[in-house]
């Protein structure tokens, strides 16, 4: 935080970029372009995380989110190759109906409530800026928080439980994407082991 005005400038520019890219994701017709725009919106998000003294979270945003999860989307889009507009897998919004209009109006009212200056000022008055530790948000402090005293630390337990969630996700994804006819023809154990290796590499 050497130059305060530079921080404000970077924040304004990157939030503008995030909003434009996210609007592009929901408005553009080609799914491949939508995925690439979403990746483009993650990079200024990582910049804002770094401004918020969360450098490790910014690195995770680029490595895991933009690098791994979005690549999964890109692979699937290339695999099923949907047509850019019209027809099957194509785009364009739903035809205007009563429900959609209602939902759009609801979102608009929600946004208007936040833009009311009174609400905005109230949020400003509650802000308390605490002094930061010099190593705040670093990898050392973060791992110290998660893995200190692992036998009694609830964060360690829930962090390890995440691996079970991912394991369940892998099993569910495998089960969905297994072909029924193939599993009847082949011996079941071979099918599982072969597809299991492929799935692990992807994730």
């Amino acid at each position: 935080m050497q130059n305060p005005s530079l921080v404000h400038l970077i924040f304004a520019l990157s939030s503008l970029l995030i909003l434009l890219a996210s609007l592009g994701v929901v408005l553009v017709k080609n799914p491949v372009r939508a995925t690439l725009l979403l990746i483009a919106s993650f990079i200024p998000t990582a910049l804002i995380y770094i401004l918020l003294q969360a450098p490790f979270v910014g690195i995770l945003q680029i490595l895991v989110y933009a690098g791994a999860i979005m690549m999964l989307f890109t692979f699937v889009i290339m695999m099923i190759n949907p047509a850019p507009m019209g027809g099957k897998g194509g785009e364009g919004g739903l035809p205007p109906s009563r429900l959609n209009t209602l939902v759009a109006l609801l979102l608009l009212v929600l946004a208007a409530v936040v833009f009311i200056p009174g609400v905005y000022q109230a949020a400003a008055q509650t802000t308390v800026n605490l002094p930061l530790r010099p190593d705040f948000g670093g990898l050392g402090a973060l791992s110290e928080m998660i893995f200190r005293d692992p036998a009694n630390n609830p964060l360690t337990v829930s962090f390890e439980l995440m691996s079970f969630l991912i394991l369940v996700g892998i099993i569910a994804a495998l089960n969905f994407s297994r072909r029924k006819s193939q599993s009847r023809l082949d011996s079941p154990s071979e099918t599982v082991s072969a597809s299991g290796q492929v799935e692990k590499e992807e994730i």
Binding site: A12, S15, K88, A123, L142, L165, A172, S177
Partner: protein
């Protein structure tokens, strides 16, 4: 001009959630619905990190919550995309109209 404060970070995250829910409600392709879910999740993560920096800057609890959140997002993307692949394989169609009428004649 003071732009980098809690209310602007919250405003940005709210706008991201609104853009994401617009996409969730109004896009037809299921892949783009999943992408809109990712936008909304991104907004929620931004508000987590912003609250931790501006209000509770003594422990990094929200950084930990962010890690849990991207873990859940990865699992959700993997399962959702494999369901989309199954739909595409069986019906050659990944729009939400197809999912809404799964019971009827393919």
């Amino acid at each position: 001009m003071e732009l980098f404060n809690l209310q602007n970070v919250l405003l940005l995250s709210l706008l991201l959630v609104l853009i994401g829910s617009y996409g969730i409600f109004l896009r037809r392709s299921l892949i783009l619905v999943l992408l809109s879910v990712e936008i909304a999740l991104n907004g929620v993560n931004l508000s987590l990190i912003g609250f931790n920096y501006f209000r509770w800057s003594d422990v990094e609890t929200s950084h930990y919550l962010y890690m849990l959140s991207i873990g859940v997002a990865a699992v959700e993307a993997a399962i959702g995309l494999s369901m989309i692949i199954v739909l595409f394989r069986n019906y050659n169609d990944v729009t939400r109209d197809r999912v809404a009428n799964l019971r009827e004649i393919p």
